[in-house]
């Protein structure tokens, strides 16, 4: 797999990590000081397992210092644990799902684990995202509750607003399960600005052999990862999400003109062309991902956007990396972060709600809910 070299969008302090991720063979030549800089940054970016996986694929481990091996192994160990817990959760809930119309579609990290694809290796999922048809949602929720699953947040306004405004229920937990279960009925809030074609998400979902589950088709997985980062987050510390997107672009491959055209068409179907373009601009800037340049010129009709354009990218570049690999001051990162948080709240609220500037309970509660969801985002 060809990874290319990192460009000038990334902070200087992050270049060693990006280089090691993009050209793992180069890691064989690092001295102990080099690793000493690299490993803590990878760990904070939650990319240590991914780094370890890529390095071990290309470098004979016996050529690496013992201490380095220990830390790379630690990254893989943590990832292996999360993977195991994910598989255990999926195995446990399978009986509860039977009898309720599917498909039962795994999203994001849980999907990569279930498919056992290279993209999933070394990652650290913290929860399992499962999307079921709206008509089955109540039945599945009930079945899970009977099987011992409970909602973590039980406050009434949380419950109400999740169900009324959102595309997902509050997280569920169960005894003996380390991971949380997030039930979705689509991938973005129904009241939101982007309107994916949910019916096609389901109808084009693909089964995962040996399991009762489906995953989104490859284009939809990629687009979901993209909106999760550029539409549904504040970018802060989310480099690992961009690493996933870069890997998926390469796997397509984005260099293939037909694959690119099909992806753009799919993005248009889901109303996600601008986020797609933005993701390509970010990947070009951070990873020089092949095919991004072409994708950007192919989507020029999407127009420049306030929310998905150059200005946001400049801010995102300052906050994507971990806090222990900054070029600028911590203050400038914080400032960029605050602006991106505000953008995130703005995007989450539908246009018609913004008309209400009074401190009416509805608006404030939604903002609180939006903030709470933001705060809960980890992994």
């Amino acid at each position: 797999m060809d990874f290319g070299s990192p460009r000038s969008h990334a902070p200087q302090a992050l270049r060693p990590l990006l280089l090691a991720l993009s050209d793992p063979r180069s890691a064989a030549s690092y001295d102990e000081s080099g690793w000493d800089s690299l490993i803590p940054v990878a760990r904070t970016a939650r990319l240590l397992g991914v780094l370890a996986h890529r390095v071990y694929e290309h470098v004979d481990r016996s050529t690496l210092p013992e201490r380095v091996q220990r830390h790379l192994d630690a990254g893989l160990t943590e990832a292996r644990y999360r993977r195991q817990k994910t598989l255990f959760l999926l195995h446990t809930i399978t009986p509860a799902l039977s009898g309720h119309a599917g498909p039962w579609v795994l999203l994001k990290g849980a999907a990569y684990v279930a498919q056992d694809r290279p993209l999933g290796r070394g990652r650290l999922p913290t929860d399992v995202d499962l999307m079921v048809p709206r008509a089955s949602l109540d039945g599945v929720e009930h079945a899970l509750k009977s099987a011992g699953w409970v909602f973590e947040k039980t406050e009434e306004y949380d419950q109400h607003y999740y169900r009324a405004w959102s595309h997902e229920l509050p997280p569920m937990v169960a005894a003996g399960q380390s991971m949380e279960l997030d039930l979705h009925h689509t991938i973005l809030p129904p009241i939101g600005r982007i309107k994916p074609d949910t019916a096609r998400l389901f109808s084009d979902a693909m089964p995962v052999a040996g399991t009762a589950f489906h995953v989104l088709c490859p284009h939809d997985q990629l687009l979901h990862a993209i909106v999760h980062l550029v539409h549904d987050s504040d970018f802060i510390g989310r480099l690992r999400d961009l690493v996933d997107i870069d890997a998926m672009f390469r796997a397509l491959p984005l260099t293939d003109a037909d694959a690119r055209a099909a992806l753009i068409e799919r993005a248009r179907l889901h109303d996600m062309e601008k986020p797609l373009r933005m993701a390509a601009m970010l990947c070009r800037g951070w990873f020089e991902t092949p095919g991004c340049e072409e994708l950007i010129s192919d989507t020029v009709t999407a127009g420049d956007s306030f929310f998905y354009g150059e200005r946001v990218i400049t801010l995102a570049n300052r906050v994507l990396g971990p806090a222990n690999a900054l070029d600028g001051s911590e203050r400038s990162r914080r400032r960029a972060g605050k602006l991106l948080e505000a953008r995130s709240h703005w995007l989450r609220m539908p246009p018609w709600l913004l008309a209400y500037h009074t401190a009416s309970k509805g608006v404030r509660s939604l903002a609180q809910w939006a903030t709470k969801r933001q705060g809960a985002a980890t992994g």
Partner: protein, 321 residues
């Protein structure tokens, strides 16, 4: 040159610039601080260690710094950066060493998935180790400290470091944190013991640190075999009572009282099983420290020497995909 022999000014200079490497045995840290008081504390409680070259690779870099800004005038504070990130709440400026110690322990516990880390005090004699799981009220730290002052060598006060491939105990030599009455007990028990200053008003009460002895520091790369697992229970009303503990139960209590047993899955299961298989397991109820030490010495002598298994079936390589 040991840290205690380095002139205070010079040590502070090194700590406040590139830092100083400190080797605990199974892990090593690069330590930095820009606080003179913290440097002075380090000189005492790490006196027996060597100040290693700070270049190269370390398992963690810890940096104890004064908090800057307006608040610093109202309530002076210090904070700890671990690999450039602040994980802990700031402490009052005059409580810097406890923050350095607790923060460093936390960093080690969350990074070292290469070992099975039990929450226990571990000492050894003749290469045979006593593992003492840390339960609240056990008096584990006091007992560990006292043992190290009576012919047992320290592996660790906090971490039972178990090598996954063969269940041997490794060293994680760190200053022993003593709390409240324990400090006086140890001071009376051994007046020559090197104790750092007392820090009152911490979350855990008054804390002081016992410096590991130079000869114990010198042994930091030595490996020990499991021989005893002892669950201590301090009871001022008791003298010394020993009760055998079922091995399977000892296994369960050790697993529950570990930092990362669950995350290591099958490797931890195998290593912990081996450790318990080779150990004699006991509950020790004691009010008299000298009596407890004597009892442990006898117990260690009596414990059957079991040959190690060589490599366990799951080698470290199994961690890879």
């Amino acid at each position: 040159m040991r840290i205690a022999e380095i002139p205070e000014q010079l040590l502070f200079h090194r700590l406040s610039t590139e830092g100083v490497g400190i080797d605990f045995g199974s892990a090593r840290a690069r330590v930095k601080t820009n606080l003179p008081a913290c440097a002075a504390s380090i000189r005492t409680v790490y006196g027996g260690y060597f100040a290693d070259d700070p270049s190269g690779m370390f398992d963690v870099t810890v940096d104890l710094r004064r908090v800057r800004g307006i608040r610093a005038y109202v309530r002076p504070q210090c904070q700890l950066l671990c690999d450039g990130i602040v994980d802990q709440e700031p402490f009052p400026l005059d409580t810097s060493l406890p923050l350095l110690e607790w923060g460093t322990n936390y960093s080690l516990a969350t990074r070292l998935y290469c070992y099975l880390l039990l929450h226990a005090g571990v000492v050894e004699r003749g290469g045979r180790a006593i593992v003492m799981p840390a339960m609240p009220g056990s008096g584990k730290s006091t007992l560990t400290a006292a043992l190290t002052l009576r012919g047992f060598r320290l592996l660790s006060d906090e971490f039972g470091v178990v090598r996954l491939r063969d269940a041997r105990l490794l060293r994680m030599l760190r200053p022993l944190a003593l709390k409240n009455e324990s400090i006086d007990v140890i001071q009376r028990f051994e007046p020559t013991a090197v104790l750092g200053r007392r820090f009152p008003k911490t979350r855990k009460g008054t804390v002081a640190h016992l410096a590991p002895q130079p000869s114990h520091v010198d042994a930091r790369q030595e490996v020990a075999s499991p021989a005893l697992v002892v669950f201590p229970r301090f009871d001022p009303a008791a003298s010394v009572e020993l009760h055998p503990v079922q091995k399977a139960r000892a296994f369960a209590r050790l697993a529950v009282n570990s930092f990362n047993c669950e995350a290591l899955g099958p490797q931890a299961f195998e290593a912990l099983s081996q450790l318990v298989a080779e150990s004699s397991c006991w509950q020790l109820r004691y009010g008299d420290l000298n009596g407890a030490i004597k009892a442990l010495r006898e117990l260690l002598d009596e414990a059957k020497q079991v040959d190690g298994p060589g490599l366990l079936s799951d080698k470290r390589e199994a961690v890879r995909w």
